[in-house]
Symmetry: D4
Subunit: 151 residues, 8 copies
């Protein structure tokens, strides 16, 4: 099966911090569709894209944002696809703002939050979700983990 | 002139904490239109209402929300009317989450943030905005301040 | 298809805070297997149970823990199934300790973290993961969301 | 109509962080009157200037300050004009001190607080306040927002 | 010699928390002049009172305030008498806001800050200052300390 | 009268951050006796020096320390002279640790705490204490403040 | 062999929170010598007691204190016996102050810090230290752990 | 007697921060066995190594880890040897995450936590534990402390 995951970020300046998400998805043969869109500066683009994401063949959405990081929450509000949030550091209130704004979602609309700047883990989490029904991905995950054992 | 201010909150459980906003606006003869809508559970309602707010005759929007408080930011993303954010306490991460999620907005989309649970001040801030062009409101503000001098 | 999700918690005193996880899973017809096991007081039970979880037919693991909340991370270390972490409040360092100990996982081993005490959302996140390949769950999620619109 | 906004800061060393406030106001054809005055080292200058600001033709006051940032609160205490506070980073307690000292104002005396180091948004907030009664500013805000959509 | 110390607080609701300041001063035979005045709601009263305090025979000023606690800083800005600040708890951001707003004063204008809700220690600090030139107070301090040895 | 103030610090590496204390005292003609002694690595030296400080002609003690900054508290425990604490930054928990360890003193043993790294203000606070009974110092303080008005 | 451990606390009001330390030591047949002494209010008692503790037959010292919790650090400064610190909650800055003041010790003088209010674990840590050379204690620890497995 | 202490760290990138632990142990003639193993990426290695550590002749285990620092807790869960935890800085949530994840252990399983990045003190703490039954180590500790007196 072909998988397709959207990797959204609020600003082009987030590209470096979010790059490991796409790289990691591609290692698993998953299409990573990287797009810049902001919950605050292009909110209609976010709601339109995310509302149509399931129909457009996406299995999950990864969102990276800093400061009052609303991107993941805004995405989660418009879809029942799994949304993974990556809080990004960079402001004076370094990572605390984006972490709390991403993880403290109200009842009903979860965001699967990973560590501050943890874009690689966001991708791995999506792979693990897909691997629930794909034993080939399970094997790849196990190989990848074996490589990551520190020496 | 007749003024009209929307007072939005994400959940009916926020009513008590937000009540001083409406009470204060009404003291100044300003219509307070209190509505429950959630950036996460009814996002399209928020964008639709806020996008049309200027045309519908509102001069400002007050938003109260807790936890990953996106309501004010979501409103600010859909209008150029002034948006005042009231971070609400109540979660385990008591007020820190809603404060940072409300105030740390990115460049371009400001939210005028007041103190945690500061709904009365949100209303006063709106009155002060309107009073820039309304000397009658200035007089009322001065009287109100005189009453508030502690003794 | 029949689904089976483990709901683990470190102590029987966490039962009330974790109850919404099982209740929510059951609403969707998903078996919730609630078990008490501690990353610190019964670590071998955790590694044994979690290591065998995929083979035993589980699709996901939800872990609730407080303080230096290692349960979700310990589970994630022993499986490539998706692990959802629920930081629990209750210590003097109320929720900050469990949130950071759950979400700040190192590269390679993600934990999908939800809000402090957010056990209902942990279950919904699992449902959303399963719904990627189950359109019937998508419908149920949409109905559930419609019910949760605040009025 | 001609608009005039005071941009106050506690120290000449805050100039770089506050420069976007004046630049942004000027883009909208609003006079930005930048002045150095300190709530602690020249308090009488602050109270004298601010007390007379409405009569002197100002529509709003923007205040940037770091550490125990009292400037915005001190200004707000002396006028019923809208006061916008910009917490500045730079101390060891980086931005947390100025944020809390600016936003946590008591009942009766609001300060419209923006993000730490958010001087551009302080100016935009003032423009949005003025635009309530000036449709030309509304158009300019809409153009500005369109420019800011990330690509 | 007769000593006279002003004990200022921003609101009558702070009376209970500040009461130990007066009680402690009186134990040492020092006149405690307790007054309610607010840096934000009666700023001119604060500047007028504090500016004249040395001439009026006061040796020190104790200020208790909560939230964005400016009272001590505002007093310190208007006098070269020693100003002791007592950060008061009570907001959602419990004591962190008042502590940082009191202690993080800029260069030139110190506030002698004591613990959150530490009004008794504020009085003892003043007694210790006066005791530098008063050996009778030294003896009283030593007796008081002897009483306070825990058993 | 001749004044003498001890400026203590826990480590020679604190010298740069504490230098403004001595410089400022000397501007006022006050002898600054700078000594390196640690509450943890030379505790008996601290208790011996501080216990004898009043008899040795000191009027106040300034203590700068970082991390679990006990120096000011240890000094305060051994004298009824005023003790001024300067929390120093430099650890990973940058300034929060030293601030809380310095200011949160228990009932009975106050430490007059200034801002993190605020050694100049520590000296000014001592000058203000001495000026209570020395009108010449008052004049010097007023001149100094006039110089510090920002322009 | 007979073991003897000092359990020190700064105030009689800490007794309830520290009681599990003595109870736990006694379960292992270790004498718990509970004493009230304060790093700030009876510092000489602390230094005298602790300096003589090894000669008096103690193997370890447990210290519980709140706020600017110096007791463990002060003890550690006067002995090379292992010192275990228990940060106690109870102030407005609930547990953060005592945790940082206990754990952030400078190079050379360690304090073995346990969780906020973790007096039972302080005792267990001491038992584990003694068990390094006492296989009987190892057996007791293993039995105790078996009892604590949650069910 | 010959002593042997394991110094574990989660990643080779932690080597520099942990180096003082081994250096310090060696100064006391104690064998430091430095190993890289991760609670998350090689959990079975950790449980296997730690479970057998007492039988293999180790007297204590020092663990350094950053972020959601589980290594010390995971070690403590598998042995009744004393485990010393060194929280490491380096993430955006600089040291707060690793400190809380290390120190806030639940009842029954203590970790002796030292300061963030305090690897030298971790070693000294182990020496102090061993010195309880070794008067030669006591002498060495006293010499070492004498060297560390700041001048």
């Amino acid at each position: 099966m072909d998988y397709r995951v959207a990797v959204l970020m609020g600003s082009p300046t987030d590209s470096d911090k979010m790059a490991p998400a796409a790289t990691t998805l591609e290692r698993y043969g998953i299409e990573a569709d990287v797009r810049i869109m902001s919950a605050h500066r292009s909110p209609d683009l976010v709601s339109e894209f995310v509302s149509g994401a399931r129909a457009a063949g996406y299995q999950a959405i990864i969102c990276g944002a800093g400061m009052a990081a609303h991107l993941a929450g805004a995405a989660a509000a418009h879809t029942t696809l799994p949304v993974v949030g990556v809080p990004l550091s960079g402001s004076a209130i370094n990572g605390w703002d984006s972490l709390l704004a991403t993880v403290q979602m109200p009842k009903g609309i979860p965001v699967a939050t990973v560590a501050v700047d943890g874009s690689m883990n966001a991708a791995l989490l999506v792979v693990q979700m897909l691997a629930v029904f794909d034993s080939n991905l399970v094997l790849q995950l196990e190989e990848h983990r074996a490589e990551m054992v520190p020496k």
